[in-house]
């Protein structure tokens, strides 16, 4: 095992080295000052490879940084906090011992160093270190296995292929295994249940409890379906009541409880029904308003009161609506200043990014929470599930708008304001500000061309503009009743005659749009389609 000797006196360093070498300790590192020891340990330069060390022998009185301060810093470093430190002190310096122990030293040897005493203390410290290392390795192994079991077998996987519902989820357990859990039950193509819960406590006991509770839910659902016979799916409140009757008394006995939300998305009835058992308040983002509503139930956690009567609450939803379920680890995450991440930040994040697919949203929330807290090591378990009501097709329009104008160049200001307003609904991650300015210009150019080439500058003719925004693209449909024209009909630009700048305009349209089509329908209406694809990452 490896020992670091820190002493400013060359004689003392050599003496310690000789004693230890003779006793068979071959991995010795010498440092002539506290700073030198930090260098050897890699504490000075974070990029340097960290030296392994099992024991530090530290002189108390050293110039610049003394042994007590050095001891404190090594203990505070994280990677060496478990390394035992033995102080070496002259007989006359024993008044420092209290502060050395306070700084984290475990033992001391007085100078002049007695060989027998040195070797006895060193080997007892090393024995302790060895046992601690072994115990830690065992614990790590158990947590590794437990964490893997939880991630692969116990934690439900969001369904990837549920028709009409996009789902994504993430958990981060503070001890890599923990009591936040979620699962999904698919009853049929119209009906998806989600359960998200947070067991009191952390680590393996909480994870086991979470697994047991999920098991109870599966049993309750099966029991109720069997009892009802085929044809009816038990309501969420019935399921929760049965679980409560089976479980709450046991939880109370174990002095534990669980908060959870059991929710059902019913596509057929366009309703979400949920039982809120004292869980973090879920959010409902409405496509129609762009705002969110907090979903509040009225029940206490399971395991709090045997006489609790669980009731469900039901809310209608529309296509494009989003539901956010999470554990309080998200909203109660603190930053360095001690502030909570809070419901408001979560709501704001969602409102700004609500057009992103669920997979992107949960990753975004995770990033936001991590960057807010400034650490990846959390004090509480964190879980989050996002569901979007997507309807049968994933590329349904999120928004449509319509503008009518006359074939007059003075209308162009209104056209651009309209495009700008529509683009305001697209998050910057889907289309940059620069892209929006360019799109505004391209639509402007199409209208200019219609006025010039379809209506030949005749005023008071009708131009209709329809815009459709989906997750994947934004489509403008610009219709007129003038002469049909195609890009080929328009002469290339001639910059010496600025009445004919249309070729330049076509170049702009081509550069900006991903697709441009010129179509004439049977009624003689001509339409120009201008499509811009959005940078939307597919949900996972």
């Amino acid at each position: 095992m490896s020992i670091l000797i820190v002493d400013d006196s060359l004689d003392d360093r050599l003496l310690l080295e000789t004693f230890l070498k003779k006793a068979g300790f071959s991995e010795l590192t010498l440092a002539d000052s506290a700073r030198d020891s930090f260098r050897q340990l890699g504490l000075e330069e974070p990029t340097r490879e960290v030296n392994h060390v099992d024991l530090v022998l530290m002189d108390v009185l050293m110039p610049e940084i003394d042994g007590i301060e050095a001891c404190r810093r090594i203990k505070a470093s994280g990677q060496f906090s478990d390394v035992p430190i033995i102080m070496i002190t002259a007989q006359t310096e024993t008044e420092y011992l209290q502060s050395a122990f306070d700084a984290g030293a475990i033992d001391y040897i007085t100078k002049p160093v007695n060989k027998v005493e040195l070797l006895a203390r060193v080997s007892s410290a090393l024995t302790l270190k060895r046992e601690m290392d072994q115990r830690k390795a065992r614990e790590k192994e158990i947590i590794d296995i437990g964490s893997e079991i939880q991630q692969t077998l116990l934690q439900g996987q969001p369904p990837q292929d549920f028709p009409g519902i996009g789902v994504a989820a993430f958990t981060m357990q503070s001890l890599r295994i923990g009591g936040d859990f979620y699962d999904f039950f698919k009853h049929n193509d119209q009906c998806l249940d989600i359960i998200i819960g947070d067991v009191m406590g952390k680590g393996i006991p909480a994870a086991l409890m979470g697994a047991a509770i999920k098991n109870q839910f599966v049993r309750a659902i099966n029991h109720l379906i069997a009892k009802e016979g085929i044809g009816r799916i038990p309501e969420p409140e019935e399921i929760v009541r049965l679980v409560h009757s089976e479980l709450s008394a046991e939880l109370i006995k174990l002095d534990s409880f669980v908060t959870l939300c059991y929710a059902r998305v019913d596509l057929n009835g366009s309703r979400l029904s949920f039982v809120d058992c004292g869980h973090a308040k879920s959010l409902h983002f409405r496509q129609a308003t762009g705002k969110h509503v907090v979903l509040e139930g009225e029940n206490v956690p399971l395991g709090v009161s045997e006489s609790e009567y669980y009731r469900q609450v039901s809310v209608p939803f529309e296509l494009g609506d989003l539901f956010v379920f999470y554990s309080d680890g998200v909203t109660e995450m603190r930053n360095e200043a001690g502030e909570f991440f809070g419901l408001e930040r979560l709501g704001k994040f969602m409102e700004e990014n609500r057009r992103l697919p669920p997979g992107e949203l949960v990753r975004g929330i995770r990033r936001a929470v991590v960057s807010f807290s400034g650490t990846e090591v959390f004090s509480d378990d964190v879980a989050c599930v996002i569901m979007r009501i997507e309807g049968a097709k994933t590329d349904f329009p999120l928004a449509r708008d319509y503008l009518e104008m006359s074939s007059d160049l003075s209308e162009l200001v209104r056209v651009r304001a309209f495009v700008k307003e529509v683009c305001g609904n697209i998050p910057p991650s889907a289309l940059s500000e620069q892209g929006k300015s360019q799109l505004e210009l391209a639509v402007h150019e199409v209208i200019t061309n219609i006025i010039r080439h379809a209506y030949h500058g005749r005023p008071n003719k009708l131009i209709q503009m329809e815009v459709e925004l989906s997750y994947e693209k934004i489509t403008f449909r610009l219709c007129h009743w003038g002469e049909g024209y195609e890009p080929g009909d328009i002469e290339p630009p001639d910059f010496d005659d600025d009445t004919r700048q249309v070729g330049f305009g076509l170049y702009i349209i081509d550069q900006v749009a991903d697709e441009v089509r010129y179509v004439q329908d049977e009624d003689g209406k001509n339409c120009v389609y201008l499509v811009k694809n959005l940078e939307v990452l597919r949900g996972e």
Partner: protein, 111 residues
């Protein structure tokens, strides 16, 4: 559209007084500016007030540049807003025009 004309030394600075330089007003702009495009002119267009330029506007600016260049003068541009810069870059006009942040910098470039 009333162009504001100032001079810095022997450089003529023309402030474009509109928010939009587009199909709706390029003809008028061209009419107003053409007396100023004299031989060997040292011109600066100050575009700080302009928030939008379309292909017609770009075309008008280009034709000013060509006309001035043909007669031994030059035209520089200053004060481009962010939105207008995006449009300039889209059609690579930033490679054709010499662009500056302020009219003083543009005028100094004539020294």
């Amino acid at each position: 559209m009333e162009l504001t004309v100032d001079s810095i030394g022997n450089v003529t600075v023309i402030q474009l007084p509109v928010e939009n330089l587009d199909a709706g007003n390029t003809k008028e702009f061209k009419r107003q500016v053409s007396p100023l495009l004299e031989a060997k002119a040292k011109l600066v267009f100050d575009m700080a007030k302009v928030k939008f330029v379309d292909s017609s506007g770009l075309g008008a600016l280009l034709s000013c540049l060509r006309q001035v260049n043909a007669e031994g003068g030059d035209l520089k541009i200053c004060g481009l807003t962010k939105q207008v810069r995006v449009i300039f870059e889209l059609v690579r006009m930033h490679r054709i025009f010499e662009m500056f942040n302020t009219r003083e910098e543009a005028a100094k470039a004539y020294d």
